[in-house]
């Protein structure tokens, strides 16, 4: 029987009458194929199929990822949020680029004073420059937000995804473990866990947030993996002999990732505020570390007499969260070919 396929494998290509490529030697049955192909080639209306790129035989083969990247580059939302995030990362690494002062050199005499030349954002209660502190605060806040989100998203989707895909006892074990972590009250857990750690870096806080955050992501990931793996195309690939790794990476993951992206980008904002809460309780970041969370907590009681103290760090926080949510939205849309 494989001999029968020889013409298909080796037959030189010829231009058929219908301007379709027809392998020679396939016999009279090809006449039918050509006529069918012709009718399918120019069905009325398919010319208006949205986004159907004219990919000639010479065009480069494309994939989901290259198409998604092409889509992203043309999306103004992606460009705006991307630029903003690049900017945030830059000042997180080199705050000196746009702020020349020292966030820790304060002058109590200027406590809570408003905007002045050279100090556009005014001073806080301690008499520190709000502009400098907002810029320097980016490092801790962005680090906590991004690292905690990445950590929780990776851990959560890895565990949730594997549990959803393989099911059985691993799934049961993971789900119950996640339930236990869900039960830990954030504030109490933070007080107990973080108060025994004396490190002044951001990492204990990041670790604590990942520990509390992954079950949420894993639940979402597990659910969407279970939905995706029931599709016939997963069965079809399995029937072709595809390995589990291939099924997971090529078929299940791309179709299950959207809800995880949405939840993770929203969680990013929550995590930055969580850092603020923990700092307010005195178990999060500690001075001399500068963070938006610490400043927001300190400014909150003074909102009536010095609103500028709250406005700037809170504004920076909102802008950061917004940038990541927009980025997540754009990436999710780009990964869905139906929206192109």
């Amino acid at each position: 029987m494989p001999d029968d396929l020889q013409p298909l494998q080796q037959g030189p290509l010829q231009r058929g009458p219908g301007n379709t490529i027809a392998p020679t030697g396939a016999g009279g049955a090809m006449d039918l194929a050509v006529s069918e192909a012709e009718t399918l080639e120019r069905p009325p209306g398919t010319g208006t199929i949205p986004g159907g790129p004219p990919g000639g035989p010479g065009a480069k083969p494309r994939s989901l990822w290259s198409d998604a990247w092409r889509e992203l580059r043309r999306n103004p939302v992606f460009i705006a949020s991307g630029l903003l995030i690049v900017f945030l990362v830059l000042i997180a690494i080199w705050p000196g680029l746009i702020a020349s002062g020292d966030p820790l050199s304060c002058n109590l005499a200027k406590s809570q004073e408003g905007s002045q030349p050279g100090h556009p954002f005014g001073y806080d209660t301690q008499g520190c420059d709000v502009y400098t502190r907002t810029v320097y605060g980016a490092r801790a806040s962005v680090t906590v937000g991004v690292c905690a989100t990445l950590g929780a998203a990776l851990l959560g989707s890895l565990l949730g995804g594997l549990a959803g895909f393989f099911g059985r006892w691993g799934d049961a074990l993971l789900s119950r473990t996640a339930d236990i972590f869900f039960g830990i009250p954030v504030v109490l857990g933070g007080l107990v866990f973080l108060s025994v750690i004396t490190s002044t870096t951001v990492w204990p806080v990041v670790g604590f947030i990942v520990l509390l955050g992954w079950p949420q992501i894993s639940r979402i990931a597990r659910g969407s993996v279970i939905t995706a793996k029931q599709n016939d195309y997963v069965q079809a690939a399995r029937a072709l002999g595809a390995s589990n790794t291939r099924l997971l990476l090529r078929h299940v993951a791309p179709n299950a990732v959207a809800p995880v992206i949405v939840v993770a980008t929203i969680a990013l904002g929550t995590y930055i505020s969580l850092e603020a809460t923990l700092s307010y309780l005195g178990v999060g970041l500690r001075p001399p570390t500068v963070s938006w969370g610490i400043d927001i907590s300190n400014a909150a009681p003074q909102i009536r007499n010095a609103p500028h103290m709250l406005l700037w760090p809170a504004g920076a926080l909102s802008l950061t969260v917004l940038a990541f949510i927009m980025l997540g939205d754009a990436v999710r849309d780009a990964l869905d070919p139906k929206l192109r």
Partner: protein, 357 residues
């Protein structure tokens, strides 16, 4: 029980032999501590042969186990018992490399063209994926050309290679699914309701395509469907399934024109014929009630609860799928396997109005 008695039109040696195949799904209760409370007998000791170049149609209503059977044939489900022999070799419990090799030769076309194609892969990636999984079939540099040839063979424009499934209609998507099934040069294709999700005018296109490919590449089909007319059109032999078992199996003429099992007779009489005059001469058998649950099938003959011929014997003895005793010495197309204690020929006069043509 090999159904060799139905040797009316030999079409070559058997390429696939199925012996006493069964699939039970345990029914469990509880999340952490699962208790078994019973089993759904989805497929219950089914045997048949598929010959080279032949189309075996399998018809039955929902819940008769025909889709589970299809999944077992392509190793998407593991049989609880029984054997599947491919060219005489037992492939039932293969795994790893050996299973992968067998999979090259037995492929599947799915029912729903909307869920059987990954929406996030281009058509080129979907049809080319078999080559990624079995790199020995096509050298890397050659794959793209092979994919375009495959698209052309199934009647699609080879330039559509970079499009996504949602940009195609149902019929075109089913062609993509067929191209994927053909990629590894299989010998057997299991078609699970391949046209039932398509519009009438497109169904005919896909049925014709499947027939043309069979002639061109010498494929053997197991064609599973609930639409008896489509199955008759495409099949050389037909098996009728009811609640996980074959009720009757034979050539298309034997089954459609000379059915001896009451279930087949009822099924055929219920098929809507798009011609009011042709159906006026037909006697319709309207069955009482519904198909019983496969979790709790009737004893003896599975069909007895809806059968107008049922007697005590039917509840006690399971009828075997053999040529019924009454026909052992008869001749002609009534002689074929039928699992009924009281099998009787029922002349189907519905073919008469058409015979004038």
């Amino acid at each position: 029980m090999p159904p060799e008695a139905t040797e009316a039109r030999p079409t070559g040696e058997p390429i696939l032999e199925v012996r006493d195949l069964a699939k039970l799904y345990p029914l469990t209760r509880g999340v952490v501590f699962r208790r078994k409370i019973g089993a759904v007998r989805a497929v219950d000791t089914v045997s048949f042969d598929l010959r080279r170049g032949e189309t075996l149609g399998i018809v039955g209503e929902s819940g008769c186990g025909k889709s589970t059977l299809a999944k077992m044939l392509v190793h998407l489900e593991r049989p609880t018992s029984g054997r599947i022999l491919y060219k005489g070799e037992d492939i039932t419990r293969l795994s790893g490399r050996a299973l992968k090799a067998v999979r090259r030769n037995i492929q599947m076309v799915f029912q729903d063209p909307y869920t059987s194609l990954n929406p996030r892969m281009t058509v080129g990636d979907i049809v080319g994926e078999p080559f990624d999984i079995h790199p020995e079939v096509a050298p890397k540099g050659d794959r793209r050309r092979r994919v375009q040839e495959l698209l052309d063979v199934v009647g699609l424009n080879p330039e559509y290679i970079n499009r996504y499934p949602h940009q195609f209609s149902g019929g075109q998507r089913q062609r993509i699914g067929i191209a994927r099934g053909l990629a590894l040069n299989p010998e057997i294709i299991i078609c699970d309701e391949p046209v039932s999700a398509l519009d009438v005018s497109v169904q005919a296109q896909v049925v014709n395509l499947l027939e043309r490919l069979q002639d061109e590449f010498g494929l053997s089909y197991v064609f599973i469907a609930h639409d008896l007319s489509v199955v008759r059109h495409i099949s050389d032999r037909v098996g009728v399934m009811y609640l996980g078992r074959f009720a009757e199996i034979g050539t298309d003429e034997q089954i459609y024109d000379y059915p001896t099992h009451p279930y087949t007779q009822a099924l055929l009489s219920a098929v809507p014929v798009p011609d009011p005059e042709a159906r006026e001469g037909r006697e319709r058998i309207i069955l009482a009630g519904d198909v019983p649950s496969p979790a709790n099938p009737p004893s003896g003959c599975r069909f007895r609860t809806r059968c107008w011929k049922a007697q005590d014997k039917c509840a006690q003895e399971v009828p075997q799928l053999v040529v019924p005793a009454g026909f052992r010495h008869a001749e002609g197309p009534v002689v074929h396997d039928s699992a009924c204690h009281f099998a009787e020929a029922l002349p189907q006069d519905m073919s008469e109005p058409a015979s004038a043509e």
